[in-house]
């Protein structure tokens, strides 16, 4: 087989931390090739190396016949590679035609844009995908799906040989997804290859020919989709043995119940939008309940709903026996809930503020007397947490941005511990922190729970859930689907629970 794109032995590090090591990818002409992997597996780095956004440290990229030295997105485009990003790089206020022909306008007298010809071309390109819209209307008047299709149409009109789609369906509804799939199939018929990156494995079975799985910066497998079970893909993504998963997944999940106190929090049939459609959870005093699931399964959305960030469309949240969702983070905090967010940089730290100011941010209302901050108490509290959690900072007035990731995370954990919440929701509390800090953070969480508080733990790391949680609520596509109880949960049981819920996909595949 003559590959269209062949990447092999790719190495790429950022500041000495390897993001890709010996990664490879091969795409055949006219094939729809899926690229999957957990967060941080190296998918986007791989794409950026291919499209010239990043320069590889070593390895080779062959496009068509020759070794390629693509070093900029422009060169990638000229080599026939078009990327459709989640954030579309189109101009919403200009017409569909303009967006399609931009930079390659047909000219009259070598000077004036020939709009008649331009519109005709735009219509033709779109017609190839069965789309019939008024091409003179501003692009922004159309739905996201149509805009995405216009981006694809532009790529095709530039005679792309490979179209890269990064999570193309993440903002589409079901019928729009069907239209997109139609376009992908049409591209394939026309001999254009598609590299399809998605977290939604079910989609792969509908349109993809082969699937390459990445884990920890390496390529672990390339399989033919029609001969692969979803379970195998999950096993590849997580680095586990399918037999183990299958065997343990079959066992009865009824484990021994952990010792626990009264009910702190109950959510029933909670729905906050398309990404969280049905969420049930009961949290008792003295227990850690984990939320397990793949990316996009609705774990973070569940946390946001409990904390009052996203309003409920349906369902009931009961806190300490009282019904009602908190109206916002401030009310949630006063109802003794804490929420350590997943994205430390965007939603956690205030980079220019000091360790002290960051740590007491959520506690501020309780630290104040008639609107004035009690500095003496603030310093005492901060001092206490710095020594309890072993935070390494020059002094408490050091800007938090100067601390390492692990120490920043400890400061943020302290921000919530300081409010003495009954319920602490932790979204990926140990992501991006070094091993030492990780162990420490995990032990603080455990000792906090032992004092009779409750923790909801979200983690993509299955070991963390399996070892840390007393029970695990398994989530899938916005719904809580199963509940597992410790002792007795193993990583494979958890993966099995995730996979077994998708039995439907396997039957579909078998047809």
């Amino acid at each position: 087989m003559n590959a269209l794109v062949s990447m092999s032995g790719i190495e790429k590090s950022f500041a000495g931390v390897p993001a890709l090591s010996q990664a490879s990818l091969e795409i055949a002409p006219g094939e729809v090739h899926a690229l999957i992997g957990q967060n941080g597996a190296g998918k986007s780095t791989m794409i950026k190396v291919l499209t010239g956004v990043y320069r590889r440290d070593s390895g080779s990229v062959v496009i068509g016949r020759g070794e390629s030295e693509i070093s900029s997105p422009r060169e990638a485009q000229e080599a026939g590679i078009a990327t459709i990003y989640q954030e579309l790089n189109l101009v919403p206020l200009r017409s569909v035609t303009e967006n399609i022909i931009m930079g390659y306008e047909p000219k009259r007298l070598g000077l004036f844009v020939d709009w008649r010809e331009g519109n005709k071309r735009a219509r033709e390109v779109l017609a190839r995908f069965g789309i019939d819209i008024d091409v003179t209307e501003p692009l922004g008047n159309f739905s996201t799906a149509i805009q995405q299709l216009v981006a694809i149409a532009r790529a095709v009109s530039l005679e792309a040989k490979l179209v890269i789609m990064d999570e193309p369906t993440s903002s589409l509804d079901a019928s729009e997804v069907e239209v997109l799939f139609g376009v992908v199939r049409e591209l394939k018929n026309q001999g254009v290859s598609v590299l399809y990156v998605s977290h939604f494995l079910d989609e792969l079975f509908q349109i993809c020919d082969r699937v390459t799985t990445m884990r920890d910066g390496r390529t672990v497998s390339t399989r033919i989709v029609s001969e692969t079970k979803k379970l195998e893909m999950i096993a590849d993504m997580l680095g586990r043995n399918t037999d183990e998963i299958a065997a343990e997944g079959m066992t009865d999940f009824a484990g021994a119940k952990a010792k626990r106190g009264s009910i702190l929090l109950r959510s029933e049939n909670v729905c906050s939008g398309p990404r969280l459609t049905h969420f049930d959870l009961t949290l008792h005093r003295g227990e850690i309940v984990g939320l397990g699931g793949l990316l996009g399964s609705g774990r973070t959305e569940a946390a946001r709903a409990l904390f009052g960030v996203d309003a409920l469309e349906d369902g009931v949240i009961e806190l300490d026996g009282h019904t009602g969702q908190p109206s916002g983070p401030d009310e949630a905090i006063s109802k003794r809930i804490g929420f350590l967010t997943e994205d430390r940089k965007a939603e956690g730290i205030i980079p220019d503020m000091s360790v002290r100011e960051n740590m007491t941010l959520a506690l501020l209302p309780k630290l104040a007397k008639r609107g004035q901050i009690d500095f003496e108490r603030e310093r005492a509290i901060v001092d206490g947490f710095i020594s309890d959690l072993g935070i390494k900072a020059a002094h408490m007035d050091q800007p938090i941005r100067e601390l390492s990731g692990g120490n920043q995370q400890k400061v943020l954990l302290a921000r919530w511990l300081a409010t003495e919440p009954d319920i602490l929701i932790l979204d990926e509390p140990t992501r991006g922190v070094d091993v030492g800090a990780k162990r420490e953070i995990q032990s603080f969480i455990r000792s906090y729970v032992d004092k009779g508080f409750g923790v909801v733990l979200i983690s993509s790391e299955f070991e963390e859930l399996v070892e840390g949680a007393d029970r695990i609520v398994v989530m899938h596509e916005g719904r809580s689907v199963t509940e597992l109880a410790n002792p007795g949960i193993t990583g494979n049981i958890l993966v099995g629970a995730l996979a077994h819920h998708d039995a439907g996909a396997d039957t579909w595949n078998a047809q």
Binding site: E347, E357, L364, A368, Q372
Partner: protein
């Protein structure tokens, strides 16, 4: 080396550009004492203080708004509106009959109206999520228009010594408005460094999402910043009217938004928010005033002074960028 080690931590960690501002101020003072005739006289000091006070007062409000990551273009228009209202009140029949009440109302009501302008700006920005530059453009355009409609576009002259005290009064030999600016600065400095409101203000400017998710009252604090800015602008508008014993809605506060933004930026405010150097704003206002005065006193035309002001802003912004990289 040894000397800097002994500096208190706070002073040592003060931003470089603040020192830069002090250097610029020193340079201006040296230049003027050498080349500007009659610079080292008490009269010059009075003139400069009475003129810088309005810029400083508005610049402090602007600093709070900029600290949230916003901007307020309506300060000049709010000055005109407050300034136009005051004479209307104490020259009215009620004001004439009760002079004391008239002056009191002539100060309170315009400030109240200014505050309402701030509520409008704040709600547009914090609740309706309109871009600050657009939200405040509304009053920038309409505020001065309203002021001119109120006064039929006429210059209102008056003679009211008690009201004029705002702009011409002296305490310990120094202009009243200078003291007022100083008091406002001290209060705001206290609020920024000691009060929860100030802490939230800086947190919101530093990372609004993080502040919100930590329970910060984002809307209230943002609206508050616009209200304080507008009330301070109202104050400045009253002072200008008091200095002139006349209210000219067309000129009162004209281009003040630019002076105030420039002073705030020169004083060390970051346009992306998260920092509120109150005394920096005063320093910035003094520098801008001194540049104006230097050029004026040395016979340089007004138009050229505008270019000089632009140069200062460019320099200050450039220093900010330089520090960031």
């Amino acid at each position: 080396m040894e000397r800097t080690m002994k500096l208190p931590k706070r002073v040592a960690s003060m931003p470089l550009r603040f020192h830069g501002g002090i250097v610029a101020l020193a340079a201006l003072l040296v230049f003027n004492s050498l080349f500007t005739p009659n610079f080292l006289q008490l009269q010059t000091l009075f003139v400069n203080i009475s003129q810088v006070a309005t810029i400083a007062i508005v610049a402090m409000g602007m600093t709070l708004v900029i600290a949230t990551g916003g901007i307020d273009l309506s300060v000049g228009a709010v000055m005109a509106l407050a300034g136009a209202l005051a004479p209307l009140i104490f020259l009215s029949d009620l004001g004439a009959a009760n002079p004391a009440l008239g002056v009191a109302l002539a100060i309170m009501l315009p400030l109240l109206v200014a505050g309402l302008c701030g509520v409008f700006n704040g709600v547009m920005v914090a609740v309706l999520n309109v871009q600050p530059i657009i939200a405040t453009l509304i009053l920038f355009i309409s505020g001065r228009g309203i002021a001119q409609v109120l006064t039929n576009g006429n210059l209102q002259t008056f003679s009211n010594p008690s009201f004029s005290y705002l702009g011409t009064g002296k305490i310990l030999g120094l202009p009243f408005q200078g003291w007022l600016a100083l008091v406002i600065a001290c209060v705001l400095f206290w609020v920024i460094t000691r009060a929860t409101w100030g802490r939230y203000l800086l947190a919101i400017g530093g990372n609004e999402r993080a502040a919100f998710l930590s329970g910060g009252p984002v809307r209230r604090v943002k609206i508050g910043a616009y209200v304080i800015c507008a009330v301070l602008s109202g104050f400045a508008g009253l002072i200008v009217v008091a200095i002139n014993s006349a209210s000219d809605a067309a000129r009162n506060g004209n281009l003040m938004e630019l002076d105030a933004i420039a002073a705030a930026v020169v004083g060390g405010a970051l346009l992306q928010g998260g920092r509120a150097p109150i005394f920096g704003a005063i320093l910035g206002a003094v520098i801008i005033q001194l540049v104006k005065y230097t050029l004026l006193a040395n016979g340089v035309e007004d138009e050229v002074a505008l270019i000089a002001k632009a140069a200062i802003i460019i320099l200050a912004v450039w220093m900010q960028q330089f520090r960031r990289t």
